[in-house]
């Protein structure tokens, strides 16, 4: 498990380099990715479903990126993308494809639905964290 979290840390840093994140943010990006992945692993080890674990992890990652973005005055995407990357449903996508290959359409459908579920859940986590604070915003007439 520690090995897994460590590799999440390094691969998130690698990923940030692919997208040319500035050098000073690389470590932070790695930490965000590692935290997201460890929440996911924690959820799985407690017997939560993949979808629920992903949801909880992306909730935390989004909140964390908002806080970091505000503090470091950086576009939030820098941290958000780094944190979301380990959670993106690559496994489910691959298994969908693999099941289609061996003509097991029932399993393929199952994994296809799982892929969409995970994607939807990540999206809704981002929406929830971003939009809910706006409820308490003071109403303004002009944008």
């Amino acid at each position: 498990m520690i090995l897994s979290i460590l590799s999440a840390f390094i691969s998130t840093i690698g990923f940030s380099i692919l997208f040319h994140v500035q050098k000073k943010h690389l470590l932070t990006c790695g930490v965000v990715g590692a935290i997201g992945w460890s929440i996911y692993l924690l959820g799985e080890s407690k017997g939560f479903s993949t979808v629920l674990s992903t949801f909880l992890a992306s909730l935390l990652v989004t909140e964390l990126s908002y806080m970091l973005a505000k503090r470091l005055k950086t576009p939030i995407t820098v941290f958000l993308i780094a944190g979301i990357i380990p959670l993106v449903p690559g496994l489910a996508l691959y298994r969908t494809m693999y099941s289609l290959l061996i003509s097991d359409y029932t399993i393929a459908l199952e994994y296809a639905i799982l892929t969409f579920e995970i994607a939807g859940v990540i999206a809704s986590a981002i929406v929830i964290i971003s939009v809910f604070p706006l409820i308490w915003r003071k109403p303004t007439l002009k944008r």
Binding site: L3, S11, F15, H20, Q22, W37, I76, V78, L80, V88
Partner: protein, 260 residues
């Protein structure tokens, strides 16, 4: 371009900043916001911008020069988060009045040509990133090294093809074809000592549409209907291109090897 009127210079600067941001993969609402802020800092009578993922329209209106519009078509999009951040900072400085227009224009040109990481480094890190992803999906040491080799190879391929400005879905399709064939070749050489699943997932992870997807959601929240939908479809298409590439290559590999 040398224009005599100050409002045209400002409009050019704002649209250029937006253009670079959009090419670097910024969310549409951020681009719109940046352009609007830069233009509003000059107290024009009215400022309107319309940004979609492939183009920018900005209009300013003032009694002193009636009306001025600039349209810009944006091509060759990629992901350069460093540029987005630098331009964000630049526009903030400009709006606060910390930096005059000509210095800001000069800085913008610098940002356009900045390269934080060399392409060799990016390719190397594609491999490292893929290798550690394979560990996350329960690969062993052999898988780790194999993924690293295939990852570097695919990173190189992706990098070279992308600079030829071929449609991005095709580049991704070819890259995932390469992943599939490399995995099949190494499977014939090494047999059951390696695991196909972690290697394939590790290699496609850097190609998956994480950025397009995140931007789609962020645009949808930012009330950008058009961009939200188009980026959502973009991420779906990327996923399909990747899946198709992997599927075709593994299928051919299986048929030739008679594993089915």
């Amino acid at each position: 371009m040398n224009t005599a009127y100050p409002h045209e210079q400002i409009l050019n600067f704002a649209v250029k900043a937006g253009e670079i941001m959009l090419q670097s993969g910024a969310e549409t609402y951020r681009v719109e916001d940046t352009i609007t802020r830069i233009l509003k800092a000059n107290a024009y009578y009215s400022v309107d911008t319309f940004v979609i993922p492939t183009g920018i329209i900005a209009t300013i209106e003032d009694p002193s020069f009636s009306m001025c519009t600039k349209v810009s078509r944006v091509k060759n999009r990629s992901t350069r988060l460093d540029r987005i951040e630098l331009i964000n900072q630049l526009s903030r400085d400009y709006v606060l009045g910390n930096i005059p227009l000509d210095a800001a224009v000069k800085k913008l040109n610098e940002i356009e040509n900045i390269s934080t990481y060399s392409s060799g480094m990016v390719i190397l890190w594609t491999g490292i990133c893929s290798a550690f992803f394979s560990v996350m999906f329960k690969g062993n040491l052999l898988d780790f090294f194999l993924t690293f080799i295939i990852g570097v190879q695919v990173g190189f391929l992706h990098h070279t093809l992308r600079h030829k400005h071929i449609v991005s879905y095709f580049v991704l399709f070819v890259s995932s074809l390469a992943i599939g064939f490399s995995v099949m070749v190494s499977y014939y050489l090494l047999g059951d000592k390696m695991h196909i699943e972690p290697i394939v997932i590790g290699c496609i992870m850097p190609l998956l549409p994480g950025v397009a997807f995140t931007n789609a959601v962020r645009d949808a929240i930012g009330d950008e209907l058009l961009s939200g939908i188009s980026r959502g479809v973009e991420s779906l298409l990327i996923a399909i291109a990747l899946a198709a590439g992997i599927g075709v290559s593994l299928n051919i590999g299986f048929r030739l090897g008679g594993l089915l």
